[in-house]
Point group: C3
Chain length 329, copies 3
């Protein structure tokens, strides 16, 4: 959907520097954008690429405007402005209502007339699919599930019994929502499975990454509040609660019954033990381990950067007897 720079500046509240009649019809990177593409500068790490750009225009902060060799759309939050414009130039496909002939919809499930149900989808008894939902091919919706309006469930997802997913969510391929969690009681003869009877309850505007797993609760529910964003290959165990607008990057995991507050940012490969509580506005950096509750907002870390192996071996050997060595001194 092409637009002039003047239109974009007006619609998205930017100050325009340059020819308002220039037309853009797509986006590009600073390095590779062509003459009809819009680009942006948000991460100052890429600032050196600004001078060489051949884009139609750059969305950037005021402080970088003087260095911009092409038209500029000045914004206080250039990344968000870029995202808004990119969504305008590349609108999401509208649902194509209808149920594919190979889909299996159980007799007492309900599917809105405006929903799109793909090939080889299965929808179990008692489930309800709201307006403008898209369910891509190969997805399984088990029994008594509800999917809210305008949510997209991508290919090959499994949403298990009794799960509730809100409106305008996106569930990426391969995710598993609402399967039974890992609960066993120890007996003399081995492990006895504890029935997993709660639900997975997902709010509105939640995104869930590819091959991520979210277990149903044991008795009460596992709860993902509205606006939460979860990346790929993340594990959310039973009875976890994640507060609104928290973001969790890939390969992170939250063990059972842990509670995370609102607006937290959990870096990639962060793991948290069970039965702890993280307050609002906590950031945890890449590949950290959280073993205790966090009660004060701020940034937390325990990742160790890789070093040359020979030196690391010596340091790690010292670490293994650190207490002894420091005691002796």
């Amino acid at each position: 959907m092409p637009a002039t720079l003047a239109e974009l500046a007006a619609r998205f509240g930017c100050e325009l520097h340059g020819n308002g009649n220039s037309i853009v019809d797509g986006v590009g990177t600073l390095a590779n954008a062509g003459a009809r593409a819009l680009t942006f500068l948000a991460n100052p790490q890429y600032r050196t690429q600004l001078k060489q750009t051949r884009a139609a225009a750059v969305v950037l902060e005021q402080r970088f405007q003087a260095d911009c060799p092409v038209a500029a759309l000045v914004s206080a939050n250039p990344y968000a402005t870029y995202a808004s414009i990119a969504r305008f130039l590349h609108p999401a496909r509208a649902p194509e209502p209808g149920i594919h002939p190979t889909a299996v919809v159980s007799g007492d499930a309900t599917v809105a007339a405006t929903a799109q149900i793909g090939a080889h989808v299965f929808i179990g008894p008692g489930s309800a699919i709201a307006d403008a939902v898209v369910i891509e091919p190969g997805t399984i919706i088990a029994a008594n599930v509800t999917i809210g309006a305008a949510t997209r469930i991508c290919a090959r997802v499994a949403v298990m019994d009794h799960s509730r997913i809100g409106e305008r969510c996106v569930v990426h391929p391969g995710a598993v929502i609402g399967s039974a969690g890992f609960g066993y009681a120890r007996e003399e003869s081995g492990w006895l499975a504890v029935p997993q009877l709660g639900r997975a309850v997902i709010g509105n505007d939640v995104d869930i990454g590819a091959n991520t797993t979210i277990d149903r609760g044991t008795i009460d529910d596992t709860v993902i509040e509205s606006g939460v964003k979860i990346d790929n290959l993340v594990q959310i165990a039973h009875n976890v609660r994640i507060g609104a607008h928290t973001a969790i990057a890939a390969m992170s995991g939250v063990a059972g019954s842990t509670t995370i507050g609102q607006r937290c940012m959990i870096g990639g490969a962060v793991v948290m033990v069970g039965h702890i509580s993280i307050c609002d506005d906590v950031m945890v950096t890449f590949h950290s381990t959280v073993l205790r509750s966090i009660t004060e907002s701020g940034t937390y870390s325990s990742g160790i950067d890789a070093d040359k192996a020979a030196r690391w071996r010596r340091n790690a050997a010292r670490l293994r007897r650190l207490d002894d060595q420091l005691k002796r001194k």
Copy 2:
């Protein structure tokens, strides 16, 4: 399935304190259980919730009985007793025998008359599905697989060629069993794949979590012994052997040809290198790394709790030159 407290006490061997005619028809948490729900106290961390409970009855140890404001079922192992009662009150659905018309069963596969085969399931040539097996929608059973009696294979699982799964197992959605492992020989021109010819052999009463992967052996088999419980997003590489009744929590991984003993408890996000051996009755705590064989039972750790980022940066910088610093002193 409702029951009186007297019936439950008799059936599950508990000492009853309170009115044996009270009826329970479900379970709840200490905090949320209603007047017809059973609850339990196992983790002493939740002891403070006991006094406020409004449950019909609480399963607990003798030492907590005096603090219980409602009826009590006293047990030496309250979590296992609770699990048994919850299974009695909420029995698993029985299989509904039959093959869904959209399932594809290869001509020379065999499916027991009492098995339930869901929509869009594929069963490959030479595979055998025993009595009372449930295979949920979208699951792929490849060629020459055997699935033992009363096993449940959940939605969207892939069980690859030659795998053997025992009786009364549960395989959760998205798991992949028996795919080819990561074996390559280095040549001048790159990597040459080594044929993966062994099987994945799973015992009885094994549970396998959502999106977990278990590779087939390279030549001999990958073996998961009976009673093993494996959580979500776990990787079990080729030629691994896991001893009976070992439990492995989510996001853990075991590299190729490693052997784990019986009754081990592997905490979440624990990773073990290949070609090592872990003896029986080892516990490894959350997010530890195992780089050497363990020959003595006990508890092992190497996880580092996250700290305030500014302090951690200083400590991590010291760790990077620890050997030099301690040498100099």
Copy 3:
């Protein structure tokens, strides 16, 4: 496919010690191979098993030949020679051309006559499947995807819009290729999704493990060059580029916009932050964290071996105040 030792020695360029007329028809391990099986000695750790072997013949280096109690095929690279012979004795199944009647192929997709399309496969509009491709049951190929000749896409894979996969690749079950990456701009009201418009572009001879996820690029492409081998449960984020012949073991992850060079060996459970660059010929050992660019080839580590829990607790407590303690001394 049986062969004599003389044939194998001639075909694979080995020096034969022993009876050239002996026939082998399969492979085995040093410990378990029977009288018609070939085995190998590559990892010297297994050297002690050589003397007891009852195999037909052992592929090994010259230096071990004197210790071999049975026939020997001497090779400078015994593991690669073994792999070549095993591939010869156990050839991969040829594709069985045709489209299963339950597969759904969109009207404007193209499928080569020599391709094999399994049950319940979906192929979206504009996609092109080349000669001798095998697509196993339950796999979803979305819109405008291309799959190169002789590639095998295993069961229950999802290849999302606009992905390009080269020739002779293997994509293992449950993998997700080309789904949208984790890109959000922060706004006052929460997170705004940034459109993910680039592609996932996979070279030739690439293997991708079970339940691994590879995101499409944000604007430019995510690129996996030819000859790369990726194990199970690996996360490759948007805009990552991985150089030719690099191998990445299971449970590793590469965050967004990071570049990895050629011929790197990334051990299991290694995680790398985003926006960094790793040069050619880098090895990173098991469960290390990479937080900065690496500009010099060599081996890098930060994994910490688990220790007895009581001792580790004391050492970890010292680590938490390491900077203070070393300052004071």
